[in-house]
Symmetry: C2
Subunit: 443 residues, 2 copies
């Protein structure tokens, strides 16, 4: 059994690897045509996709999974339209491969440049969201990477059907279809095996809940790019435009609380506690948000009879570390920008943090000193997303410091190599001595 | 004992970490002044440095270390001049921190940009080469990273003296001196401990022999950027300018055979075997190079009485994988560019590979398809080096695919974060509903 798993995993990886050379010099037009063909096939085969998806939905129901999870799993026409749009969007993006990002000339005439090249074999591990199959595969196809897809087992029929469509498009357009490998067996050991294949798998990208990501990171010998969780903070400075603050905090907490770029901690400058906080608390309370407050912010609510309807409780230390993913917000009062940055450094997860202020110097300091993947001035943290940022799609989000920070898209699926164009240059001018060369030419 | 090691390691790392915020907004002038001050102090304290170094040299002799190793350890005036020059050169390089590498505007008016920021805490593990202390520390100082230095124990007195000089310069110029941490105890366990501090150490960079690098990679939970070895290849195409080939192969093998960018495998197109190879073999033979040949290339030598002096033996399969680091060259005859690229893919180490050709199309194909950190046309592989490429200095070389490939310098010690400048934007235009806002303003 263990042996079977190893040989299955190895076969998938080797097959993917064998396509790398062909991928590296594949014409952009072939890549784009394949993506557009896949979009067309997806449109034609809606019924088949939905049929396969319904098997997954039934199975999920039989397991008694939550309705939220079943909703994420569901493929209806609107979601299929969304996947078609991703394929078309990625086809439109410029091809990153082969781009010379910079080239300079050395005093000896050597031209040294950096050329963008694919990473190689990308292993993506994700949960029961079939749309990730299309997003991840299309980005890898466009950036000439081979991809190994391992989705949640609850979505296995949907994912298999989507991969079939992609592969059919590959065959029609001359794209090496083995560049897309799909793990169609449920054993978790397959994942651990692939994560150990240093030198054969170039990077692993886990997408999903914190426990999945921790399991991947802990089992990997190959490089992993990841983010564990999103404990995002908004700091409302005493020089904030309060109207902007109401809208931004509301948006960041209420519009979609279940995602990683929603705000979890609200930090308020003491000077505006009386003017800003009762109104903000009123708005959040009306929106059904539970507030976990420090002493000062709690007192304001408890002392104001017009806020008696607001659900507000004292915050614990743990609350500030917590990714609620729900209509819950932790609140902290500070006396300065420094204190706010200290708070973010201590409790935040280096994902997305915002300052609301009209003060130029404080805005600049916040941008520079807050060490997070995305740092905002006067905007909602909810924008942290490959699509929103204009990157076309998203492979995942990184809060690591190596290779990529923030939403990852095409560029993050490449790396530059050095290319050097010479005309016979040798180091330190040490060539064959003249007399030795003339002797040699007599041989 | 184990506990002592852990607390020692933790203290070093925590001290380094505490400087990160101050480093992130340190003015470029302070960084440059500190580097220049260190250069000045190094010049003044030559005698002290050489004295401390002589303790290491004596100890190394008492251990019976090889003269090559003792030579690398030695600090004479010329080498101290070299370190002074590194400090001055790094001071002259542009500061990468805070650079906005790109900024664009979204349809909603949000400005999204990528800002270069330091990695954080960099852990460098190296062997008994004191110059690495200065190179690594100066690059980290300029890029606002904190550094933990762990050099070979044979160089401990030299390294300690160099670090003292750096710290004195820090104190004089207002640079946070704890940003430079020096491991002054010999236990290897300290290294393994630090390599496990995920989230506290942002990257580990091992520099040295393959066994050191493997040990670091295998023990690390933190990201590692590395290269194991340099099995560099030169392919002499049948459309090569043979004169260029003689000089380049000679330079790449003979000028300094003990380094990772020296050539180890020579690949020759069959069509020029008769014209090129006897002369090249003559030159290499005269330079004292031992040739490990495949059948065809060996026959040419054995059949030519004028080459009877050449040391040539049959190559084994292992020879082509080997990093000789010596006056030894493995030779292989191929029938096409494809075969040459296949050979490089199989036996090379993805470090530096060159083609010698006058044919444009073959040159372009080689550049695109050879998957190595540095790919050359008509130049010696010996140029793969941060200084030679014009990067100012070198933190190490990466043959990994993640974060950096090839020589690493200032830019590779940074990563970009997203900075977003708004004027109150909220996602999907979901702000506080108007009536709720008016109500709230009455509170």
């Amino acid at each position: 059994m263990q042996e079977q798993v190893v040989s299955y995993a190895l076969e998938k990886v080797e097959k993917a690897r064998q396509t790398l050379r062909a991928l590296s010099s594949l014409k952009t037009s072939i890549k784009n045509n394949t993506l557009l063909r896949a979009a067309e096939l997806l449109d034609k085969k809606r019924d088949y996709i939905k049929e396969e998806n319904s098997k997954d939905i039934e199975y999920a129901k039989s397991l008694g999974l939550s309705s939220a999870l079943i909703d994420r799993l569901l493929l209806n026409d609107k979601r299929i339209d969304g996947m078609i749009k991703v394929l078309e969007d990625v086809a439109k993006l410029p091809d990153p491969v082969g781009e010379i990002v910079r080239m300079w000339t050395l005093p000896n005439g050597l031209k040294v440049g950096r050329m963008r090249v694919p990473l190689g074999v990308v292993f993506i591990v994700y949960e029961a969201r079939p749309n990730v199959t299309i997003e991840a595969a299309s980005l890898c196809m466009k950036s000439s990477n081979a991809i190994i897809l391992r989705g949640g087992k609850e979505a296995i029929n949907s994912n298999r059907a989507l991969v079939e469509v992609l592969k059919e498009a590959c065959r029609m357009e001359g794209f090496p279809e083995d560049a897309i490998q799909f793990i169609d067996r449920p054993e978790r050991e397959i994942v651990w095996e692939i994560l150990k294949m240093e030198g054969k798998v170039d990077v692993a990208i886990p997408r999903g809940g914190e426990s999945l990501i921790r399991a991947v990171a802990e089992n990997a010998r190959v490089p992993v790019i990841k983010h564990y969780k999103g404990v995002c903070n908004i700091y409302v400075d005493d020089e904030a435009d309060l109207k902007k603050a109401y809208h931004i905090v509301y948006n960041a907490k209420v519009q979609r609380p279940s995602v990683c770029n929603a705000v979890e901690n609200l930090i308020i400058h003491r000077n505006i506690l009386e003017s800003f906080w009762p109104r903000m608390a009123y708005i959040l309370g009306k929106a059904g948000v539970e507030l976990r407050c420090d002493e000062e912010s709690l007192r304001i609510i408890k002392n104001n009879p017009r806020l008696s309807f607001v659900k507000a409780v004292p915050a614990t230390e743990e609350d500030y570390y917590e990714e609620f993913l729900d209509l819950i917000l932790a609140v902290k009062v500070v006396g300065s920008l420094e204190e706010a940055i200290d708070f973010i450094e201590k409790y935040g997860s280096k994902h997305s943090d915002a300052i609301i202020t009209e003060n130029y110097t404080k805005a600049m300091r916040f941008l520079q000193e807050v060490d997070s993947a995305a740092v905002y001035v006067n905007a909602s943290t909810r924008f942290t997303d490959g699509n929103e940022f204009g990157l076309g799609a998203e492979m995942g989000i990184s809060t690591d410091k190596i290779h990529a920070r923030g939403p990852m898209a095409l560029e993050e699926l490449t790396i530059t190599k050095f290319v050097i164009l010479g005309e016979g240059q040798v180091r330190d001018n040490v060539g064959v001595p003249e007399d030795l060369l003339s002797e040699a030419l007599q041989v």
